[in-house]
Symmetry: C2
Subunit: 549 residues, 2 copies
């Protein structure tokens, strides 16, 4: 992909605008008729067509060959329209522009900043967090078993590695595993869940390992999708949401049914709002599932137990399959906040809920204290799923063979960390606590600095890894954004990036109430860097407000 | 999933048959009206429903709760019908039965064999192949960089690890990479392709790393799918095929257009047959893509250059997007056979083909000499793809964040192995050659032993990792299979498994000409084990033939 076909605010401001629907939708703006002209993409395409014409003229060619010149097989017009509708702001044009800026900096091009700071994505280790030693020791031993003879590895790490390798085909991480994941590790996960949930049993046969939580979420959504026209499957998702949900529903041609979290009450989930969304949706689709993200992404709230009970009761009464995205279950910081798993609450509610309400709960090794995003490991536990459907899920997963085995090995350690009697216990605990304590401090710092800035309002970051502050944007900035065919908060974030090197994601990529503007920023940079970043961002907002007032 | 809901030949023979369409289709049989009764699944479901009724009776409950008893949200009837139609024989019911048998052996249950041999899947390390030392050294260093100070690792492995870590976010494999893969590694891949193709340039921007080749194949198919009814996208695939293709087309609701390879001419691909398939397909769908697997899976043929040229000319004239599955490019054994990449042939054909024919070529670290299946790493190179579509592909991949980073690191070493001047060169070469030489010997052995057996015919295994012999099945066996609602070769393979512990996949899972029967067996077990396996299998076939004659 040529870099010049992407959004560039400089050329934009010179009046060279974006015509391609793909570009416009990528920028988080849904055009309503009036579209702009993407000069660069057009120039690029015309030039390459001219080159093809010349190449053809220079050679003997048949009529068929000339006909081929008219059109590629696969174009924006002929490609899968569902894929075209997909949007994924977390890695959208703003991040591509950040990559370009980094390259320009490396080439010595002068910028008003010396470094691009990617606060767009929950990628702890990219922000300098060190891996947990024990995790990496066990994994290195599994990868290169010659190290089992090395005196430089603790005994418990060796024991673990041997245990994992015993459960692998050919005693190697290089063999495929069973499609639902190594049996031993699914048993570990079941034990972990049972312990987390105060002894409520978990069945390894209900646990499917996956390529990150995303993979499992997509799989469950795939099972749910059916129908056409008025009977198309509708799925309730929170607004703001993590855009994996909207992207997957677009790809699957399902109907996204928005329910709004209440910003005034720290992004609370209100059953009355669920009911409103459901009733309206029933006019045009068949709502069959309800997704909840707890702790919230991008919103950072942690749901109280009563709220979870109310959501379960609602899902039960309304015949909705429940999907609980609980990948931030270890990331709870606020005093008085506590993580309650949907599974535990459901089971404690007893009959008829416990024995019948269908639930899928997702977890990941990418978040928590370990932040091992690159390994792409996660799992789903399904509860009360129809046995035949569960077989279908297993079949569907088998087409992709198996989740990455190194990630499965990592998951083993995450769900069964060193015990107090193990040689690695003390160091493991110290490293884990240090990460979580620092995250808690950064959550507090973020809320504090933002709320001191006029025109920025930030709810408490009770959990997860993000703040999602609301920013006031002056009417002239909104107008200017509209002229450029951009969502106003996209315009703000693009200007912020160009001037400060700070990369955050506009609220329009997650969804927000009409007329409000937000951005998502991670709390992951090291404390001092985060402080300076928060201050720079607040100052930029003040300047931006003056500029467009 | 309860084990007892799966196919069990013992209960089958007692007259307890399979009613559920999902079970029947899983078994590779497409029912034509008459369906059988799966007693176990029915008993299981009835019992669990009874339990739910009792649970409800024991508690206070509302009318809504009673209503819920009627039906789960997600059942076979309400789930995604496209997913239900998916079949994937390589990991189908025969493999699940093999798992059960292994468990029964461990429990001390007596069987006519002492070990289950999984010759169903191309999983080299599970069959005892040792990982290539240099690959694992580099990876262990990346995983646990403390080892960079160890004297037990060669200098070139350390240099590589440092090089890879430099290119990772936060210098860690635990950070996400760019969605299309680490830039450095995409550049390595481009250099590798350029060298493979005699200097024809490859552009890193056209290379996308993926979670195994399967992931990239599914992504490209997703882009291609569009239309409804008569304009539904058709995709030409070989028969026999690797069932990832049929499974993905079923899931995407695209039309599978079969073209038959010519078994009498060592599974040759004939353009006249492509034309027949295409013409017939145009009556009911819009064929837009042509998939070729070279070297062939499950068929093991290696395409001569003229054949590739003819296929390219055909695709060009007929406006078909070409997909070249070239994951076995390093696995060519037969004298006179040589791998020609579609990219190289296309480029050497010059205009108008070279500048216009759209092509996607797939590769993987799971096969070749390394066999690192568990790491789930691969890539696709796209050629002449529309620039805007390529952006859409990048966007689609970004929703799943990134391919597993350890796999990306492994790919780096695979595409840029040690040079002759490097300390690890000699050992690397020796290990690589040993694996490939042994595979070549096993390919020959397989062909030889099978062709000595009456009623078994095996084409030469020119490449890849499988034999796909044709077996004669006596008419009474075919009848018996039909009574059981099974494809005849599924019945043969199930009996083989129960009696010998040998797990192979019936030809019906890959597709075959009506009235012919095959199975796919890997050539991966160690030579002596393979020999005994081939002999046992031939003897079993003879006995089976007597039994049903």
């Amino acid at each position: 992909m040529a870099a010049e076909t992407w959004f560039n605010p400089v050329t934009l401001d010179k009046g060279l605008f974006c015509h391609l629907p793909c570009c416009v939708s990528q920028l988080g703006h849904r055009p309503h008729g009036g579209e702009l002209l993407c000069c660069w993409a057009w120039v690029h395409q015309s030039l390459s067509k001219a080159c093809r014409v010349m190449a053809l003229r220079a050679s003997d060619h048949s009529q068929a060959a000339m006909n081929r010149l008219k059109e590629k097989v696969l174009t924006l017009d002929t490609m899968n329209p569902c894929v075209r509708r997909v949007e994924y702001a977390v890695r959208g044009p703003i991040v591509l522009r950040a990559l370009e800026l980094e390259q320009e900096l490396r080439q010595g091009i002068k910028k008003p900043f010396t470094e691009v700071i990617r606060a767009n994505i929950g990628d702890a280790q990219a922000m300098g967090q060190k891996p947990i030693t024990f995790l990496r020791q066990v994994l290195a031993l599994c990868i290169h078993p010659d190290l089992l003879n090395s005196p430089n590895f603790p005994e418990d790490a060796k024991r673990r590695a041997e245990h994992i390798l015993q459960a692998c085909g050919g005693h190697s991480l290089g063999a495929y595993s069973v499609s639902s994941g190594i049996q031993l590790i699914r048993e570990d996960v079941a034990r972990y869940i049972q312990q987390r949930d105060g002894g409520i049993p978990a069945d390894p046969n209900n646990i499917f390992l996956s390529t990150g939580a995303s993979d499992a979420i997509v799989t469950v959504l795939k099972l749910l999708v059916a129908g056409e026209g008025h009977t198309r499957t509708g799925v309730l998702i929170p607004i703001p949401q993590y855009p994996l949900y909207s992207a997957t529903l677009a790809e699957l041609n399902a109907v996204q049914v928005d329910y709004y979290l209440d910003e005034e009450r720290a992004w609370a989930l209100d059953v009355a709002e669920l009911r409103r969304a459901l009733c309206q949706a029933r006019d045009h689709c068949h709502p069959r599932a309800l997704c909840v993200i707890n702790p919230g992404n991008p919103t950072g709230q942690v749901q109280p137990r009563e709220c979870i009970e109310a959501v379960i009761r609602f899902a039960f009464e309304e015949q909705l399959f429940l999907m609980a995205d609980e990948v931030y279950q270890d990331n709870v910081y606020a005093e008085g906040s506590q993580f309650h798993s949907f599974k535990k609450v459901l089971m404690e509610m007893g009959p008829p809920y416990a024995a019948q309400q269908e639930l899928a709960s997702f977890h990941s090794v990418s978040k928590g204290y370990m932040g091992e995003c690159g390994f792409r490991a996660g799992y789903v536990e399904v509860v009360n799923m129809d046995a035949a459907v569960q077989q279908q899920m297993q079949k569907l997963m088998s087409v992709r063979l198996c989740p990455p085995v190194p990630g499965q090995a990592l998951l083993h350690v995450v769900v069964s960390p060193p015990a107090p009697s193990d040689p690695s216990f003390a160091q493991f605990q110290a490293e884990r606590q240090a990460v979580l304590a620092e995250l808690a401090a950064k959550a507090k710092l973020t809320e504090q600095v933002f709320n001191e800035a006029p025109g920025i309002h930030c709810n408490p970051v009770q959990g997860a890894m993000y703040s999602f502050p609301r920013v006031q944007l002056p009417p002239r900035a909104v107008l200017r954004a509209q002229e450029l065919g951009l969502a106003p908060d996209m315009f703000f974030c693009m200007c912020l990036l160009e001037e400060t090197g700070i990369c955050v994601v506009p609220g329009s990529g997650f969804g927000q109430r009409e007329g409000t503007y937000h951005f998502r920023m991670t709390i992951l940079p090291p404390v001092e860097k985060l402080r300076s970043l928060l201050e720079k961002l607040s100052q930029f907002h003040a300047k931006f407000t003056r500029q467009y007032s």
